[in-house]
Symmetry: C2
Subunit: 191 residues, 2 copies
DNA sequence: CAGCGCACGTGGACGCTGTCCACTTTTGCT
DNA sequence: AGCAAAAGTGGACAGCGTCCACGTGCGCTG
């Protein structure tokens, strides 16, 4: 697993090659089949781990924003932190980001929280932040319903287009401008 | 090339395998090296063709909207047609869509128009539609600047998330609802 | 404490891939 | 008609995922 994550980090999903992972661990290729059904199973496990890492970064970002729950400014800050964490992950760990979104079904749609009500998926974090915005009176309850999807789409599209897509080679300053435009666009959509 | 496109259509970029393509053409694998430097060059060519196909579909969608240039309703309809064509391409040709956005640098950022001023890239079409919205008086000229990026991001993210991403398994009705929400969100961002 | 089962690792093989090399065939122009 | 360039051929190599049969060590149980 650790070796698989390392490979994914530096090369994306295609770089997760079974034989190389076993080589890093110092074991013969077939040994991997005692732990994973096949290469796809390994990749799926790595993908899930990468997705969890993204969720953890979002959690850390949210936790870093001071202010009580329900405070309008803090609520907005927390939503922003989520978006920032998302983009930062895509920028700093392009391999892991691509791997996280590379594969077969995982949970994220169901977005189950754990027993403490803490979100553990990207979508879960986003929903929590939007709910707080409603409680803070910043976002109309009527506009709340389903609005996580346009927002997620915008941030995800931004991450993909500027990270691995056609906008990959946009110079840094212009890219930051594009990011700012997108965040502003989202913020206006919440007003 | 045709064989490569066929492979990409039914399996995405990873399915573009050099030997299989030559097999389809009825030629020995090495023959491909007379036309492409290596497998990546083949994939890049296929990717460009797929991107062009997307642009063509957008053009066809725009051309299908009646109404003179500058008519507010028609201008809005053309922007919508662009978004619809984008999503439709991602939905109907997931392999080609993934391939189009799979690889190395291509042009799309520069978004050059051809000699007749006709856009030939997705971004070019989007820009043209937004310019028309300005000319039609629907979109404030001040808000126009750079707004193609948030919009592109939202539509692209939507296509990726619902097509190959975590929202892939959302049932059809719910997916259509998400699409509608996203288009509404964008439309409100233009008002 | 002896022995046994099972998880874990090994060794060798197969077919598939991309790519290199040297060689032959076909094509199009003069 | 003849020749150079373009296109295709044949054989080979390493690396990949995967299958099969075979060791090996640890922990539990009698």
């Amino acid at each position: 697993m650790a070796a698989g994550l390392e490979l994914a980090r530096s090369g994306g999903p295609d770089a997760v090659v079974l034989r190389e992972a076993t080589r890093m661990v110092g074991v013969v290729p077939n040994a991997a089949y005692r732990h994973f059904a096949d290469r796809d199973a390994l990749l799926a496990a790595v993908s899930s781990a990468a997705m969890r890492e993204l969720a953890d970064r979002m959690a850390a970002g949210v936790a870093g924003v001071p202010g009580a729950y329900g405070d309008p400014d803090a609520a907005g800050g927390r939503l922003g932190a989520i978006g920032e964490a998302y983009l930062e992950f895509a920028r700093d760990e392009p391999g892991l980001f691509a791997t996280a979104f590379s594969l077969p079904q995982h949970h994220a749609y169901g977005a189950a929280d754990d027993e403490t009500g803490q979100a553990r998926t990207p979508l879960g974090h986003l929903r929590a932040a939007l709910d707080e915005l409603v409680d803070a009176g910043v976002l109309d309850r009527q506009r709340r319903d389903g609005i996580e999807y346009p927002i997620w789409s915008a941030v995800h599209g931004l991450a993909v287009l500027t990270g691995q897509g056609p906008l990959r080679d946009v110079p840094g300053a212009a890219r930051r401008h594009i990011e700012e435009l997108t965040f502003t666009f989202i913020a206006e959509g919440l007003a």
